[in-house]
Symmetry: C2
Amino acid sequence: MQRYFLDSVVNKDRIGIVKEQYHHMIRVMRMKVGQCVYLVEPNRRAFLAEITEIEDDVVWLTYIADDDRQVELPVDVTIACGLPKGDKLEFIAQKATELGVHSILPVETSWSVVKWEMKKQDKKIQRLQKIAQEAAEQSHRHYVPTIYPMMSFKQLINHLNDYTHVIVAYEESAKQSEMSQLKKIYTSLKPNDRLLAIFGSEGGLSPDEITLLEKAGATLCGLGPRIMRAETAPLYLLSSLSYALELGGN
Amino acid sequence: MQRYFLDSVVNKDRIGIVKEQYHHMIRVMRMKVGQCVYLVEPNRRAFLAEITEIEDDVVWLTYIADDDRQVELPVDVTIACGLPKGDKLEFIAQKATELGVHSILPVETSWSVVKWEMKKQDKKIQRLQKIAQEAAEQSHRHYVPTIYPMMSFKQLINHLNDYTHVIVAYEESAKQSEMSQLKKIYTSLKPNDRLLAIFGSEGGLSPDEITLLEKAGATLCGLGPRIMRAETAPLYLLSSLSYALELGGN
């Protein structure tokens, strides 16, 4: 069933949908009175609603029932990643959304060969946000992940205190067969904790960056014994976290 | 360091590399006498080898040391998937290889809208095999996953006995909040077990196919509460299995 994310909490007796979402419901999906959709409020509450009236520029719906399935990860996971090449960040935005990410934070790292021009940044973030929105609808999320504006590495370091846990996916840890940190972190998580997971771009993070992160209290984690591409490692993290916290894996 | 998969077990005192791999080492990578590479035998044994002599059409190497890191999943996982649209099977071949898959089995399912022409099948499989080979080199695997020729659904059912465990990723299980089967299966796995994980294409598997699989003893599993795309679900499975078996998650 179609799913629409609302900008605000609504009066559930009579909900008016306008503009783009009106266009999508009535012109694209050709919905009629009596059909139902899921509406999702910004507070992550979703409910079933029925179309009661269609006007020229607004469609009216009324509340039918709550959708109280727990579809969001019990902790908020932010993926911070060095700017990867090509369309890999778009790939990450789509797949990480399917896998339950809370937000994505592009970071300028010293070994990334990609630079974002200042004037094109807003457009890039908007595009990533749109990809996340569509993926959130498709995967029946109750929350559209936030794509943050790009940060410098220094800004990232200054933001670490916003999170209850900070981990760094570190290829050298994988090579040195470091296999226990990830489970330790997952086991220590409590509901509503905020986990920041930091990933390098194709070249990884530099030794200086790793040192700064460690000094700031981040935990270096291996993600298993195989070397993954930059865009695959965040998916491993989110999948394993879901298994640990949602499927009783821990 | 560069990694080459050998066709056969070799005499380690004097190993001759010819043809494509010769071309790659000497013409593409411009390697010199004294440089080292990893060589991997078909029995999943890898070792460091040094170039001792370069002739016009053969490069000679000698054994230096074993690479006895355990980089392969302790169980062999085969991903069987309904034919997805576009280049998604290529995506699955690359990413599943990074995540440790043993083999990939394309299956004709009733709800897949994609049909493979008979005469193009060999070429498709070859292309997927090449993608798996390159991904195996990049991710430092000791094994190149096998891409099997396409099977009909009936053939798949007849092959289930080749595996110690058969699971089906079933979207309805996710909707019904089935959250315990995957962990049960993972907990019951023993080293060298053979796990077959079956995935539908975009449309999923049909109720008839699900019934046939259940009758044949397959276990339906939910992969968490969010709906994933056809190409994302196999990555969730492999990541969560790695976490469970390689990072002490279980």
